[in-house]
């Protein structure tokens, strides 16, 4: 077969490798603005990724035909996400939202190869000319939840299901514990780190282990309602929804929730990119900007407790209350924040210590 000599295969192979490069030049920007989302979990996790899905839907509602969204789910935080990021960039997406902490290194790497694509990394800390970071002040929501827990816990033991010991998780645990101990100084928080953002069976097992150790309120930083279901089944005081309102899974135990609302930020970014005014920034709004919403309170919570929680929330919104106001002592006994001082943003991102009362 004369066609398939080694030389001809190499020639054809080499020529076909050049084909994708031809496509690049043709990418004139007529047509809708293409936006890509890279997510660590499925949109049906009823939590974190669901929140971003809702944000993406809000973008569609706001911009209609002017944008085209590609929403990639369940991309593991590791080398494989680099491939997904690169594919999205090559397919002509001009804004790429990477919605999990672990994507950070790969976003920076791919961003260097595609200087005209805007990358936004959620919950990250690495920025460059075309990489911005965004987050929401979940710890403000944790302070409100902590207030509720402080009033409602009878065993004075809280079970906290964490994912990875990164600053975002740590500041959430600390904000919660500080708020709870302000109400009830005997509160202890037992923390289990699952090394995963979403593993329902493990979350359920961890919930059972924590309840067996005496916890009557569960808090979580993992996505998904598995722990709440265990709380409902065991009939403990309750738990909190994470990222979304999870009361459908645990009507009696769902005390309240921290609901992530990403729409304001997403709409802002798309407007900025369309106007050509986007700059790399670290966006970190909280309850006041509407990015963190406190979910509806369970009807079994007494009115005065709801009022206390609302007071904390309003204090945070109008700036009179900072969840990290000193004096703060860490769980080894050292004073970290002096009386009257507060922890600033840089201090929050450097937080690698737990406050008094946390067993981690």
């Amino acid at each position: 077969m004369a066609i398939f000599t080694r030389r001809s295969v190499l020639k054809i192979g080499g020529a076909s490798l050049a084909l994708p490069l031809l496509g690049q030049a043709v990418l004139a920007q007529d047509g809708p603005l293409k936006i890509g989302f890279v997510n660590v979990g499925p949109k049906d996790d009823n939590g974190w990724t669901f929140g971003h899905w809702t944000g993406a839907k809000a973008l569609e509602a706001e911009f209609g035909d002017k944008i085209e969204i590609t929403f990639v789910e369940t991309v593991p935080e590791g080398p494989d996400c680099e491939r997904v990021l690169r594919e999205l960039a090559q397919q002509g997406n001009k804004i790429i939202f990477a919605t999990s902490f672990g994507f950070g290194d790969y976003v920076i790497k791919v961003a260097r190869e595609f200087p005209d694509v805007i990358f936004e990394h959620a919950t990250g800390y690495q920025r460059s000319d075309n990489v911005g970071t965004y987050n929401a002040r979940f710890h403000e929501g944790r302070a409100v939840m902590g207030t509720l827990a402080g009033h409602l816990s009878k065993t004075n033991t809280i079970g906290y299901i964490g994912s990875f010991p990164i600053p975002e998780v740590v500041m959430g645990i600390n904000a919660f514990t500080l708020a709870a101990r302000k109400i009830n100084p005997d509160i202890k928080v037992n923390v289990v780190m699952l090394s995963s953002w979403h593993d329902p069976a493990k979350e359920a097992d961890a919930a059972r282990a924590l309840i067996d150790q005496g916890a009557d309120i569960l808090v979580q930083h993992t996505d998904g309602p598995a722990a709440l279901q265990v709380a409902e089944e065991r009939g403990i005081v309750g738990g909190f929804g994470q990222g979304a309102d999870m009361s459908a899974f645990a009507p009696k135990s769902h005390l309240s929730a921290i609901i992530d609302v990403w729409a304001p930020h997403y709409i802002q970014v798309v407007n900025d990119v369309m106007a050509g005014t986007w700059v790399s920034d670290d966006s970190w709004p909280g309850i006041a900007a509407g990015e963190v919403v406190i979910g509806p309170y369970n009807e079994k919570i007494p009115a005065d407790v709801v009022a206390a929680a609302e007071a904390v929330k309003n204090g945070i919104v109008d700036g009179t209350l900072n969840p990290f106001t000193g004096p703060i002592v860490d769980n080894a006994g050292t004073e970290r924040v002096a009386a009257g001082a507060v922890v600033d943003d840089a201090g929050l991102w450097a937080m690698d210590w737990y406050v008094e009362g946390v067993n981690a």
């Binding site: 329902p200 097992d205 265990v230």
Partner: protein, 265 residues
Amino acid sequence: MLIGAVVAFAVTYTTGNPWLGILLAAAASAAASMIFAFLTLSLSANQVATGLALTIFGTGFSALFGQAYTGKPISIFRSIFPEALATHPLWRLVFGHSPLVYFSLLLVVAVWWFLKKTRAGLILRAVGENDLSAHSIGYSVIGVRYAAVAFGGAMAGIGGSCFPLLLTPQWAERLTAGRGWIALALVVFAAWRPFRLFGGAYLFGLVMTIELYTKASGGTKNVPSEFWAALPYLATIAVLVLISLRRSGHSAAPACLGKPFLPTN
């Protein structure tokens, strides 16, 4: 396991009957395992590669099939014994478990009895030890292996159904989170014996629970929880070393494990 889990959840959610869910989960997984059987037995494909391919397929298929069922809660498959016994502080150790747990215990005994005491079990073992001899006596090696794969598939499906029916009553993508892989270590640890398997399985489960409990009580300062997570695999390695030291060369594994059946005539 994931195919079993998604089918069990879907059926239990739609019909409200967990027994039917488990039955159909077993059937669906057995059917999926026929893909593996066809590729490895009739087409003599590499078993490890085919097994991996089926795992990846099952993950994707269950995610696709389960999209309609996420976010829907069902109730846990509870003990069928009367409430008083099932929740009694002492007796619930015996009566408080879900039927799935009792089934697993019965299954160990049933499989042991089948392999040791029945003719069919003897044929199955023969086919695994020396397929050419079994073939020359006249037994259908491929046929027996098809049946064995179907049984294994059904069992994996029932194991998978434990996740949405027992552990966490919801469906989410990748619900089993790779927990099935421990079966590979378990089979080696048990040296392919049913009762040692029972002991090994509970031992591994105990170690996994200790891992969580030490984390939950905040007692990770003395023994890191990662030690408990690694322990089942360390134990398996230790057992492997012991087995190969004791009987020089004689392994407990079936002699034809992993080898396709290729009759010379």
